[in-house]
Amino acid sequence: MADLGPSFNASVPKTGKNATKPQRKWVPAVLIAIAVLYLSLVLYIPAANVFVQAFSRGVGTFFKTLVRPDFLFAARLTLLMAAIAVPLNVGFGLCAALAIARRRFPGRAFVLSIIDLPFSISPVVAGLMIVLLYGRRGWFGSALEASNINIVFAIPGMVLATVFVSMPFVAREVIPVLEEIGADQEEAAKTLGANDWQTFWRVTLPSIKWGLLYGVILTNARAMGEFGAVSVVSGNIANKTQTLPLFVEETYKQYETEAAYSAAVLLALLAVVTLVLKEILERKTRIKDAN
């Protein structure tokens, strides 16, 4: 965005940093120092601490946690959460984006806010709503009990909670991309005889793929990392309803700090991978913008 291209620069005198305005030299240094100090206190020291604590007693304790059955179960359950929540929310997000992005209608902003709503709701309140709906004394409680289906304090409720909190990401990332590319190519494809499916698969999808992937990565990170909402509906039973984020809290409360940090370091690695992919995708979309 900031680059106006070489042809533009030729006519405008180059205004480099401090070229026209003799700034006091120490101001940037002080401001940068304050920014880095603040970020260190809030982000970097805590992040570094995760890795230090996990490996300070040697990699032996780390690997000892990795083979614990309750840890392995929690890790598998975490993967399961993402494996269900991500495809569901990708399907929804794509439908919502295709339905909303290209149209102007009254109340459009309102519909967009509704899709974003799960982000404004406290995860605990999200969990509470699921308990009130599917719990024993909830709306569907007696019907579910009669047919012997457990949702709350069981895996289905945790899936519902995970889906809820990670719902908006895909729609939110894909809608602006669809708005920007416009409908010309799709209309051309349709005029040339492509059906809806072909148009979507061959024309729309290739042009939104990076935005979509970005949404998928964010959905996945949230689905694997969600704690609050899942904690409310899970009951937190080891080897039954415990995901990795819950395992971290539970082991910490039981003074098994090493185990907590071993699991935490894996989740922190997930966060780092997420950020790296995010950065790569942002760069890819930015390069596309420039062209």
């Binding site: 900031a2 006091r24 920014a35 601490n49 974003d116 309140v125 910490y252």
Partner: protein, 287 residues
């Protein structure tokens, strides 16, 4: 609830149709969207509001304003507000530094700002509780001064600051990038001091986005559970926040208590959301 009247503007064929044929013509993308939202979002919302409506207003009011609840709101909102303000100040500074200056590893600093979005909140709570405890890396610096951070309200503040950090930076950064440097230079040429230039020229156009970022961060901090529950001692009247109170009520099978406080929290979130939308509209008019 949404679609039929809105769809027909792009469905050209004749205007006279019965409601049912119109309904059949709602594109399937809309049907999936509305169906999914109904099951996943509207149904749970309805369950909570209906549960709350079974309480008599007097009872609702009694639970919502019980001393323990009032203390929890106080801790939640005051602390979230201070954390959001702190991020408002330092987030703007970070955005400024990232946009205007060049320094080594700048890209890495920039990317790392999003860490709180990606790091699971229980991990954040765990590591913050360790570092800010009395014998932790940072906590031990404050302990001799008699300042305890972890397991007090200050700990809640630290956790809330962590999770709401990216919002202000990410709302201010794009506005700052788009801003023309010429105006600043003009102000400076006309004799304004650095401070005047910043206060009168740079800050006003940034203001809507700073406020939006503060509101977004505040909203996130108010609802936060994972990191705050770990770093706080969760003692009523001291550092018990509203989401933790809801959780405790549920654990005691006090569904009415949980629901009432949940509804209060949700209504406040909706008001903040409305405020954010208005702020964003204001920001657009400015740009």
């Amino acid at each position: 609830m949404v679609s039929s009247p809105q769809v027909d503007e792009f469905q050209k064929p004749p205007a006279r149709k019965t409601f049912l044929t119109r309904l059949a013509q709602v594109p399937w993308t809309w049907r999936v969207t509305i169906g999914y939202l109904s099951v996943m979002l509207f149904l749970p919302l309805a369950a909570m509001f209906l549960k709350a409506s079974t309480e008599s207003p007097a009872n609702f009011w009694r639970i919502a304003t019980s001393p323990i609840a009032l203390a929890a709101y106080d801790v939640t909102f005051t602390t979230a507000f201070v954390a959001a303000l702190s991020n408002g100040l330092f987030g703007t500074l970070i955005a400024w530094v990232l946009v205007r200056y060049d320094f080594p590893l700048k890209r890495l600093f920039d990317a790392s700002v999003d860490l709180p979005f990606a790091l699971p909140t229980s991990v954040a709570g765990l590591t913050l509780a360790t570092i800010y405890s009395d014998n932790g890396w940072v906590g031990s610096l404050f302990a001799p001064l008699g300042v305890k951070i972890a397991f007090t309200r200050l700990g809640v503040f630290v956790a809330m600051t962590f999770i709401s950090l990216p919002f202000v930076v990410r709302t201010v950064q794009p506005v700052l990038t788009e801003m023309e440097k010429d105006i600043e230079e003009a102000a400076w040429c006309l004799g304004a001091s650095d401070f005047q230039t910043f206060w009168r020229v740079v800050l006003p156009p940034l203001f809507p986005s700073i406020l939006t970022g503060i509101a977004l961060g505040f909203s996130r901090a108010v609802g936060e559970y994972g990191s705050t529950v770990i770093i706080a001692s969760n003692t009523p009247f001291k550092d018990l926040i509203a989401p933790v109170l809801i959780f405790q009520r549920l654990e005691q099978y006090d569904y009415s208590g949980a629901t009432v406080i949940g509804v209060v929290l949700l209504m406040i979130s909706l008001v903040i959301l409305l405020g954010i939308n208005l702020l964003q509209a204001w920001g657009k008019r400015y740009g």
